[in-house]
């Protein structure tokens, strides 16, 4: 194996991207809206395409505005279809995001003749190519993707730090949030906008499918390992970094064992987060399969609670 500065940058970019996704992802998972990340990551496509067609550039600012608008529209349309169509959230999301995604693909195809907005890249990303596109800052050539993902990570951190208690409350008990004057709708749309922006930043590096793994899998892993919100955010971020690093390493090494060339790093990063989830599920200290198996006694004199009655 031949580790270069390129590889380091790929890991850094992947890690920044994964952490930026994992933080808002925690709140998606807790609100039982994991698939909303899926919906938004697909539905931002027409926003990107329209932003491109209008401005003619792939500059970041119009792209982010386009994505934020598309993300908000996805959340709004989903809400409307739920309300007026009287269908559940999953069905409403299915209607909205497939439609928007299809429109996005059409628009990209329309524009594909004279631009390099490539549907394959949109789906899978091209993290291996990100170190080629650098910006010189303070004598250091930093990949643009790392900067963009880093900036989004900072925005997400600031957002969660500022609205930590509001996000916690509206995820746990939206009715109480409403009665206390913290509009759960407002917080919902704010979070969805953030997810849309995060998704776009992640787009270029990991594409619109693997971004879902980054939004959902590390938070789900963290939830298996802790029962407090703040540690959950920390563990999710750690799992995200671990997945990015081991994922890239595995992409370089593992195919060699079978006589293949290296494989796509973003895919391996998603696979690595899946593996971490599996490990947490098996070996988690309290809720892990092994721990529960070891703890099982002749009788269970534990206090009866809803969860326990549900699982036993």
């Amino acid at each position: 194996m031949n580790w270069t500065a390129f590889d380091t940058w790929i890991v850094v970019t992947g890690a920044l991207c994964a952490v930026a996704c994992a933080l808002p992802g925690c709140f998606l998972v807790l609100r039982k809206m994991s698939m909303m990340g899926d919906a938004i990551s697909h539905a931002v496509l027409p926003g990107l395409a329209i932003a491109f067609l209008v401005t003619g550039t792939r500059a970041s600012v119009p792209m982010f505005v386009g994505a934020a608008v598309a993300g908000l529209l996805t959340a709004l349309f989903t809400q409307w279809i739920m309300r007026f169509g009287n269908v559940d959230r999953g069905a409403a999301m299915g209607i909205v995001f497939t439609t928007l995604f299809a429109i996005g693909l059409l628009l990209i195809r329309r524009a594909a003749d004279h631009v390099d907005l490539d549907p394959d890249c949109v789906l899978y990303g091209a993290i291996e190519l990100t170190p080629l596109d650098t910006l010189g800052i303070g004598g250091l050539d930093i990949p643009r993707a790392a900067l963009v993902n880093g900036a989004v990570l900072l925005v997400n951190l600031a957002f969660i730090a500022a609205l930590y208690k509001e996000l916690k409350l509206s995820a746990f008990d939206p009715d109480l949030a409403g009665t206390l004057g913290f509009s759960p709708q407002f917080l919902h749309y704010l979070l969805m906008t953030l997810v849309a922006v995060t998704t776009v930043a992640a787009f270029e590096s990991v594409g619109s499918i693997i971004v879902i793994a980054m939004l959902i899998v590390p938070p789900a892993t963290a939830l298996l390992l802790t029962r407090r919100l703040l540690p959950m955010l920390g563990i999710a971020a750690t799992a995200a970094v671990l997945a990015a690093a081991t994922g890239h390493l595995a992409a370089l090494v593992v195919p060699g064992w079978f006589g293949f060339q290296s494989t796509t790093s973003s895919g391996m990063m998603a696979f690595a987060s899946g593996l971490l989830f599996l490990l947490a599920w098996l070996f988690g200290p309290e809720q892990g399969v092994v721990a529960r198996w070891l703890r099982r006694g002749p009788v269970e004199p534990e206090p009866l609670s809803q969860t326990q009655t549900k699982t036993t």
Partner: protein
Amino acid sequence: MHTESLSGQAVFPAKHTEPRPEHPPEIPLAIHDLTVAYHRKPVLWDIELNIPEGKLVGIVGPNGAGKSTLLKACLDLVPRTSGWAHIYGAPYRKARHRVAYVPQRESVDWDFPVNALDVVAMGAYRRLGWFRRVTKAEAARAMEALEQVGIAHLAQRQISQLSGGQQQRVFLARALMQDADLYLMDEPFAAVDAATEQAIVELLRRLSGEGKTCLVVHHDLATVTTYFDWIVLINMRIVAAGPTAETFTRENLQKTYGGKLNLLEKAAEALRSTPR
């Protein structure tokens, strides 16, 4: 001017057609002409209600009678088709600080990664306002609230590790944190152990002794007369409201639960009330 109601239900005051009447601010909850509909189907119809101060009020009625919706409509949690609900003479958004709400226990996910103290501290969020963290003083108050409901020793327990009764106590402690004058509680006695039921009753009596008003959705007819000074019998409309001794009569219960139900509604009722 219409002075006689044509509905034949003499217990209701005549419908007001003149501008809003002024409510003396000491009326904790005044509801006028309230109608709520979900998907164009009315759930609450023409509600007129004045809840007197310092009373322990039970809201009683069959499943699907709109008891929870009545509380939610007062809290702006569901849109009102018509009418209004005033809290101490003001619309809810101007009287938030005077109201505490205890939702049904099943309305939240008890696997959520927070402990009992975190949940109780949520009762302080309105006082804190946007962006501000829970202060040491508020955390200490949350501890006191947990002590008042008798589970201070469970403060650090993750909420899924609590029994149903303990979870209900956490919700009550959270309402105490809100330091309100009017408490709206949705089925606080549902599926709790006897000790918790007793603790809740004592807490309610203490609150009403301090001049606070409690509105409690209740499903157990057997305990109505011992727990509540005042009751509201409801089945989409208000059937009767007043002091328990006068209002909790066989005739009124008949009107609330039976009689008017046609066969279809009875079948639906039976389906709804079968244990899940």
